[in-house]
């Protein structure tokens, strides 16, 4: 199992992490070691495993309840305007 620097850059992009050049190298070698560790799982025979892992979270009735005040929700916002979170423009006007 090896993991290339290109793959690390791709995973970082999916993870929304802008890695610096030295970080890419650093993580490539460490992820290789960790993946070798987790690849031990291939030794476990499929015949021992249950068909499908099923685990479910109990559900409740969907009844509306009061939630946090807008003021509290915005308390920690890094940037806000009126009663909204402020973000860079994401829709191109053209």
């Amino acid at each position: 199992m090896s993991i290339t620097k290109e793959e690390v850059v791709k995973i970082a992009k999916l993870s929304r992490l802008e890695l610096k050049e030295d970080e890419v190298e650093f993580f490539a070698s460490q992820m290789k070691n960790i993946l070798e560790l987790v690849n031990k799982l291939n030794e476990v025979s499929e015949s021992l495993l249950e068909e499908e892992y099923t685990s479910s979270t109990p559900l409740r009735e969907d009844e509306p309840e009061p939630s946090l005040d807008v003021e509290k929700v915005l308390l920690n916002a890094p940037s806000k305007r009126l009663n909204m979170f402020e973000v860079p423009k994401i829709v191109d006007a053209n």
Binding site: S15, L17, K20, L37, V38, K40, E43, L49, Y53
Partner: protein, 476 residues
């Protein structure tokens, strides 16, 4: 000296809340500059609250008892940093359910404790802020990720604390700091208000120096909560009232555990504990958990996968850190996260993203879940035959700062005895079993049946009557 007493005794003797608080405050003033257990220290404010309680009629199971809280549990009006730059200035806008329950029972919060960033680590060295030292020797780590909580109790700066345990984060630091730490059954305690790391494994649990105190705290924080749908709707026993020394049990030792590389002094201490059991009417036998060796690989797929998903919320938009310069939304996310997270958190997010990405999902996450199920089944089968399963808590005594910092795998292996318990969703306790010749604490882990924390506490109680570990007071 009051700081040496159990919370239960202080309650029984109706010691004034301000006297209790003052005793621990003095101890904190003496030791905290060396140990650094707290990210946020509110002892002074707690003293005022205690003073206000003095004139009241005692009400509540923890009336006037000081408690420390790991800094990933929300307390309204205080920061919840997760020891991360990402949340350094985050102020909680609500109380976690466990905090609401503590307040109801009259407990007094004295501070928020240091931890590995987002609870990822086994030494508290991954805190983005500072290192917490081991209360028995300042050159050694306190364990982690709940290192601040464990160290604070271990140094008698507080009688009780809360931590969280995803793969050993309560039990391993309890073992390293010479205190009792309990990870309850998955679903026993509500996680509402706990910052999520790996949701299928996370559980909040108590630290203390006396079994009775741990039982009392567990009793207070347990129970179903509509705000955490994974919390189980099962009755909460009166753990502290039911407490009785008990050793007449069928005890299993997994032969696979004993084949791991274990430090000689840890092994001796464990054997001494086994001898105590045998001398006190326990039936000790070897058992087998054939797939336990895969617990670490399974854990390092499931935990990072869930972490990568849970930590997606830290995007610099709604709360937390935001980068200074960005040209578009992608750069806002990516730079915020690169600057806000430390190396272990990034490592796990990337690992999790990798194992969940298309083409790998089934081979990694799907397989890991299936093997988790197999490990759980083996535990449940073994616990049909024995009442409890025992092992050392950690294969080594506390290690030195820096020793494992740049070798993630050797850090991961420090949890080799504890992670499988989270995978099996069972309760387990770590109790102090002795010291190395250099004076560093060693712990033993007892694993029980689902929702049978009582047996773990009863056995812990029997042990401390034989070996009153709480009589040892750290002196650094």
């Amino acid at each position: 000296m009051l700081y040496k007493e159990s919370a239960s005794k202080l309650l029984e003797e109706k010691v004034k809340p301000s006297e209790i608080l003052e005793a621990f405050l003095r101890r904190k003033e003496e030791l905290e500059p060396k140990i650094r257990a707290y990210v946020t220290d509110i002892y002074e404010k707690a003293y005022d609250s205690a003073k206000a309680l003095d004139s009241q009629t005692p009400k509540g199971k923890l009336f006037g008892i000081p408690i420390a809280i790991k800094d990933n549990i929300n307390i309204e009006g205080y920061t919840t940093t997760c020891s991360s730059k990402m949340l350094q200035n985050y102020v909680s806008v609500y109380d976690a359910t466990v905090i609401r329950k503590l307040k109801q029972e009259g407990a007094i919060i004295v501070g928020k404790t240091n931890m590995d960033e987002f609870a990822m680590g086994s030494s508290t060295e991954y805190s983005a802020f500072f290192q917490t030292k081991n209360p028995w020797n300042l050159d050694f780590v306190p364990g982690g990720s709940s290192g601040g909580s464990a160290a604070s109790v271990g140094a008698n700066m507080v009688p009780l604390a809360l931590g969280s345990d995803t793969g050993g984060s309560i039990r391993q630091p309890a073992s390293f700091c010479g205190v009792i730490g309990l990870k309850p059954t998955y679903g026993r305690v509500s996680r509402y208000g706990l910052v999520a790391f790996a949701s299928s494994l996370d559980q909040i649990g108590p630290f203390g120096r006396y079994t009775k105190d741990v039982a009392l705290l567990l009793e207070v924080i347990s129970g179903h909560d509509p705000k955490d749908s994974t919390s189980a709707n099962v009755e909460v026993p009166a753990f502290s009232k039911n407490l009785k020394p008990r050793t007449e049990l069928k005890v299993g030792i997994p032969k696979e555990f004993m084949s791991y590389k274990i430090d000689k002094e840890v092994e001796e201490s464990f054997k001494n504990f086994v001898k105590f059991l045998e001398d006190n009417k326990a039936t000790v036998k070897e058992i087998s958990l054939p797939h336990i060796e895969y617990a670490i690989p399974v854990y390092y797929i499931i935990a990072p996968a869930e972490a990568s998903s849970n930590l997606a919320r830290f995007d610099g938009v709604r709360y937390g850190y935001r980068t200074k310069d960005f040209k578009d939304i992608f750069e806002l996310y990516a730079k915020t996260r690169d600057e806000g997270f430390g190396p272990e958190v990034k490592r796990r997010i990337m690992l999790g993203t990798y194992v969940l990405s298309s083409g790998y999902y089934e081979a990694y996450y799907g397989k890991a879940l299936a093997v988790k199920n197999l490990i759980k089944k083996e535990f449940l089968d073994a616990l049909k035959d024995v009442d409890v399963i025992i092992s050392p808590t950690s294969p080594t005594p506390p290690f030195r700062f820096g020793e494992k910092l740049n070798d993630p795998i050797s850090m991961y292996l420090s949890d080799i005895f504890t992670v499988s318990v989270n995978l099996a969703e069972l309760p387990a306790i770590s109790i102090p079993s002795g010291f190395t010749k250099n004076g560093l604490p060693i712990g033993v882990q007892i694993i029980g049946r689902a929702f049978d924390e009582q047996t773990l506490l009863d056995l812990s109680y029997a042990w401390e009557l034989n070996y009153p570990h709480y009589d040892y007071i750290s002196n650094v």
